[in-house]
Structure formats: structure tokens, C-alpha cells
């Protein structure tokens, strides 16, 4: 079996938006999106001692190689980085097209995603990729089991849990409740350097430059502004009458 895990390299620390491009400033230090570590961990758990191949796939700048190396150090077998200046600024439509093109070549039985990107808060990519691959998709997987040719997921929703079954190949986005990602061991870190690592251009994945980056995007950032601030905040110390003070406040706001 083959499992592909899509991962993102995200800015570390206090991310900023570059006012000139209105894009996230990706020049500083970065790290593996921690939600994607759950997806890598789940792939390694499903693999166990079997001969299943785990390939990690990312779209990003050359620096994204650091995050892929971390996934290799955790135990993934191979990495694919789609990196091309013409892909910078890709929105959902363009990103899903690029990732799907690379995944099409891999033809993995199972494609895994983490539950969101910690930089953009995006939590939708898997469904677009699944649609392009024409595969079933399940998100918010709190438990995953894979057996011969099919999978079973416990999906968490606002209303409880659904058990969802699907044949493979399929796309699954795991929640961060599914596992506790391992830390790479020293041996893993050393070993990662020798593992196969492919860097692909747009031409390599077969996507036209017109379909990538800003030309291939259907959304745009128009401007940035300060979020509205809250009104006057009040703070009181409990002198024994705080409960009454809260009731008075709620009454004033017509909330009781």
C-alpha cells in the first residue's frame, strides 16, 4: 500500500503579512504545520511494520524542504516538494490543482491531510483535492482504521460522531485529537538525509503557469485593515457582590 501525506511549511512565531504583496511573509523561519504532524503520525501508525510506503508531499518555497525533512525524520519514506516561483500566491483552486497533479502521479491508496493550516487557518483543501482526484473524502477523522481495500473513520462533527466507511483509494483529513505525533529520534534525523527527495517544477507536475500562482487563482486579497476593537471593558474585584454586579450588567445588555 502507499500513503501520501500532504504537509505545509508555515511561518514560525508571529507571522506577518507583507503589505506590498498582501501575502503572508514567508521569508523568516518556518516549521512543519503542527496539524500536519498528526497526519504524518497517522500514516506511520497505519504503516506499522508493513511494507507500506509513506510519501510526504508539499507545495511551497525551497525552504519547505525543512518541513519535509522533519516528516522524513519522523519516519516517512520519501518526499516530494512542488516548488516553483510561478506557484507563489496560489489560492485554493490553484493549490488543489497543483497538489492533485502531483498526487495523480503518485497514485497513493490513501491521501492524508491535517485538520488545518496554522498560518492561514485554511481547513478546506482536502475536499478540493479529493474532487480533482475524483475520490471519496472524509474529514475530521478522530479515529482511522485501514484494512484490505477499505477504510473506516470515526468523524467528529458538531453533533457527535459518525462512523464512515469507504473503499480505497480515498482522501482523509485527520483531526488533531487522533494521535500524539512522535518526535523525530536522532537516528531518524540522520537517516532522513539519505531518503529520496524529489523537487518538482510546474512543468514536472504538468500544470500550466496560467493555472498556478496568482494567474491561476480565482480569489484575491484587496486590502488589509485593523479589526474593530471591543468597546469599553470593565473589570471589577469580587467584594462579595460580584454575582449581583454580573446580573446588573447582563440586565443592562438585555441578556437576562
Amino acid at each position: 500500500m502507499k500513503i501520501a501525506v500532504c504537509v505545509k511549511h508555515v511561518p514560525e512565531g508571529n507571522a506577518k503579512i507583507d503589505p506590498s504583496t498582501k501575502r503572508l511573509d514567508r521569508a523568516g523561519e518556518g516549521a512543519l504545520n503542527h496539524f500536519d504532524a498528526n497526519a504524518v503520525e497517522e500514516a506511520l501508525r497505519v504503516k506499522g511494520d508493513s511494507d507500506t510506503e509513506v510519501v510526504v508531499v508539499s507545495l511551497g518555497p525551497a525552504k519547505a524542504a525543512d518541513s519535509l525533512r522533519k516528516a522524513l525524520a519522523m519516519g516517512a519514506d520519501r518526499a516530494v516538494l512542488i516548488s516553483d516561483d510561478a506557484a507563489a500566491g496560489s489560492d485554493l483552486v490553484a493549490t488543489s490543482k497543483l497538489l492533485a497533479a502531483a498526487l495523480e502521479k503518485e497514485s497513493a491508496d490513501l491521501v492524508l491531510f491535517g485538520q488545518q493550516a496554522s498560518d492561514s487557518d485554511g481547513a478546506v483543501l482536502w475536499a478540493a483535492v479529493a474532487e480533482r482526484l475524483r475520490r471519496p473524502v472524509v474529514s475530521q477523522a478522530a479515529e482511522l482504521s485501514v484494512s484490505e481495500g477499505s477504510l473506516k473513520v470515526k468523524r467528529q462533527t458538531e453533533f457527535g460522531y459518525d462512523v464512515i466507511e469507504s473503499p480505497l483509494p480515498a482522501v482523509v483529513a485527520v483531526s488533531d485529537a487522533i494521535n500524539e505525533p512522535r518526535y523525530p529520534s536522532l537516528k531518524g534525523i540522520m537517516g532522513a538525509k539519505k531518503k529520496p527527495f524529489d523537487t518538482l517544477s510546474l512543468a514536472d507536475v504538468g500544470v500550466d503557469a496560467a493555472d498556478a500562482g496568482e494567474p491561476g487563482s480565482k480569489t484575491e486579497v484587496l486590502g488589509l485593515s485593523e479589526p474593530p476593537s471591543r468597546g469599553d471593558a470593565r473589570k471589577i474585584e469580587d467584594d462579595g457582590n460580584a454575582a449581583q454586579a454580573i446580573v446588573d450588567f447582563l440586565a443592562e445588555k438585555r441578556l437576562v
Binding site: 473524502v137 454575582a243 454586579a245
Partner: protein
């Protein structure tokens, strides 16, 4: 600009978040606002959609839509958008709806802006970013446009709208849309009211001291007709179910009233609740960050204040 709103139903109830988005759509000045309702008894829910501003309601009751799975819904929406030429598709976020929106974007090669908290009449979306420290204006370069709104962004208000025109839609499933099936369900007993739809949320954190003290939050929530939420720390500690978790890794809520009990207000929690209308917090630590974004902050002991508060509200309600 013609707008269609996907309305999510659960157990024969249209979700409040969806009706909020429909209310918003009806306020944008477009006379042609339509809604889509799918699943069991979809047709019976059409009148309600009319009251919230839909002039036309597309319904699909096909058995393939009875399960809460995204891909068959993508098939229905793609067909409606293509056949009727809708330029704008508005969707309230949920686990199900996010996957519908994203699948639809790929199917139609359409732009999707997500996590929006507002949309202007000239179709500029407002998206808070970087832990809500900046507001990003986003737009679409082509049609159809797809917008996914953060839960609780808009109040659901019934208008004077009359009976909508009902259009039945036949469903043609894509091969890959029919593959996943729901084979079982588990409800979490303690989850109670869905926190994403609640007008009042009483949330508890580490400061409650022990799992059994969540009864303080539950009792206050019951008195106010609200739901109970929890921080990641207490969910991780096993004090409360994950389904109640509010924050970056849980649910994002914006009730009319949010009462935080023993919650410090770490960024992980803040992003999940800071767009609540009114925030009241009680915490022993006068330096807790939660006080920076509370409308009323009370420095004090939750164990002393909350029982009194619950009693006073009960008395007031008679």
C-alpha cells in the same frame, strides 16, 4: 448578481448559522436570492427558508442525500449553479459545509474565500487573519464566487417574505460521490445543545479546579438556556468531551453572551470565542489575558460567584 445559499439541515431543522447567512444574503440588495435544502423532508423546510428571505428554494430529497456527507451535496449544488447561472454561492461553515464548499470550488473551478465574517454589497469579503489581529478584504476574480462564513457571523432574522417558489431537483451522483457511507453514529450524551448554535455559552477552564465542578457551568448554562463549552486544556485532561472544545483546535463560536469560568484566555482559546457579542469572565488571576477582551471581567473565585449568579438569575426569571 444572483445569489444561492446552501442551507444545512440536521434532524429536520435548518441550522441557525445557515439561516443567518440567508438573512445576510437577503440584505445585499439582490432581488433574486435562492436557497438549497437537501435531505429527508427538505420540501417541508422550504417555507421557513422563505421567511428568512429566499424567493426560490431548490429541494432535493433523494435517498443519496439522507446521510450527512459532502460529495453528493457538491453534485446537487454544481448542477443548480450550472443550470441556473448563479454567480454567488454562500455557505455557513460546519464540518459538513466546509467540505461541500471546497469540493464545489474544485468542481466549478471557482474561487472560494473561507472564514469570512462579513460580505459587503459590492461583494468584498472580510476575513480575520493571524489570530484575528488583522482584517483582510478579499474578493473574487471570476464567477461563480463561493463564500464560506465563520459560524455565528450573522443573526438569523425572519423577514416579511412570503411562500417561496419550490423547485425540485433530480440528483445525478458522480461515481466518486457515492462511495463513502455512514454506517454508524454515536452521540455524546453530555454534549447537549450544539455550541455553534447556542445564543449563550458558559465555558469552563482549568480554573474550575476539578471535572465535577463543570456542574457549575452546566447549571448556569441551563438557567440561561445556553450550552456548555470547554477549553482545550480541560478537554485534554479528560474533564469534558472534545465536542465542547472551543478554540483554534475546536469550534469557533460567536454567541450573544459568552461566560468564561476559570479560563485564562490563551490565544488558542481566544480565536474560538472573541467574536462573541458580550464576554463576561470570572478568574482568580487579575492578570489573566481573558480580561483584555472581556466586556465585564470579574476577579474572584468561580466557586463562590457562580452558584450565587445562577440563583440570582433563577429568581429574576421567576
Amino acid at each position: 448578481m444572483s445569489i444561492v445559499v446552501f442551507l444545512e439541515q440536521h434532524g429536520n431543522e435548518l441550522q441557525k448559522g445557515s439561516l443567518g447567512v440567508l438573512t445576510k444574503a437577503a440584505s445585499l440588495g439582490d432581488p433574486d436570492v435562492a436557497a438549497v435544502i437537501v435531505g429527508e423532508n427538505a420540501k417541508a423546510l422550504a417555507s421557513e427558508a422563505g421567511r428568512f428571505g429566499a424567493g426560490k428554494v431548490f429541494v432535493a430529497e433523494d435517498e443519496a442525500l439522507h446521510q450527512a456527507l459532502p460529495q453528493p451535496r457538491v453534485d446537487v449544488l454544481a448542477k443548480i449553479v450550472a443550470e441556473h447561472g448563479y454567480e454567488t454561492v454562500l455557505i455557513a461553515n460546519s464540518v459538513l459545509a466546509a467540505d461541500v464548499a471546497s469540493g464545489l470550488a474544485a468542481r466549478l473551478d471557482a474561487g472560494l474565500n473561507w472564514d469570512l465574517v462579513d460580505l459587503t454589497r459590492d461583494l468584498v469579503g472580510k476575513r480575520p487573519a493571524l489570530q484575528d489581529s488583522v482584517l483582510v478584504d478579499v474578493g473574487w476574480k471570476s464567477t461563480p464566487r463561493i463564500a464560506l462564513f465563520r459560524a455565528g457571523s450573522f443573526d438569523a432574522n425572519a423577514t416579511a417574505g412570503g411562500e417561496p417558489e419550490i423547485v425540485e431537483v433530480s440528483v445525478e451522483l458522480s461515481e466518486h460521490s457515492a462511495k463513502a457511507t455512514i454506517t454508524g453514529q454515536e452521540q455524546e450524551q453530555s454534549a447537549g445543545a450544539s455550541i455553534e448554535d447556542a445564543d449563550v455559552i458558559v465555558a469552563g477552564g482549568r480554573g474550575l479546579g476539578a471535572p465535577e465542578n463543570f456542574s457549575l457551568a452546566e447549571e448556569l448554562a441551563r438557567t440561561l438556556g445556553g450550552a456548555v463549552g470547554a477549553t482545550r486544556a480541560v478537554v485534554d485532561a479528560g474533564w469534558y468531551p472534545y465536542s465542547a472544545q472551543i478554540g483554534q483546535t475546536g469550534k469557533v463560536v460567536s454567541p450573544k453572551l459568552y461566560i468564561a469560568l476559570g479560563i485564562s484566555g490563551a490565544i488558542q482559546h481566544k480565536v474560538g470565542m472573541q467574536s462573541s457579542n458580550v464576554i463576561v469572565s470570572i478568574n482568580k488571576d487579575a492578570n489573566a489575558p481573558i480580561f483584555e477582551f472581556s466586556d465585564l471581567g470579574v476577579v474572584g473565585d468561580v466557586h463562590e460567584i457562580v452558584p450565587k449568579l445562577t440563583e440570582l438569575i433563577k429568581q429574576r426569571k421567576g
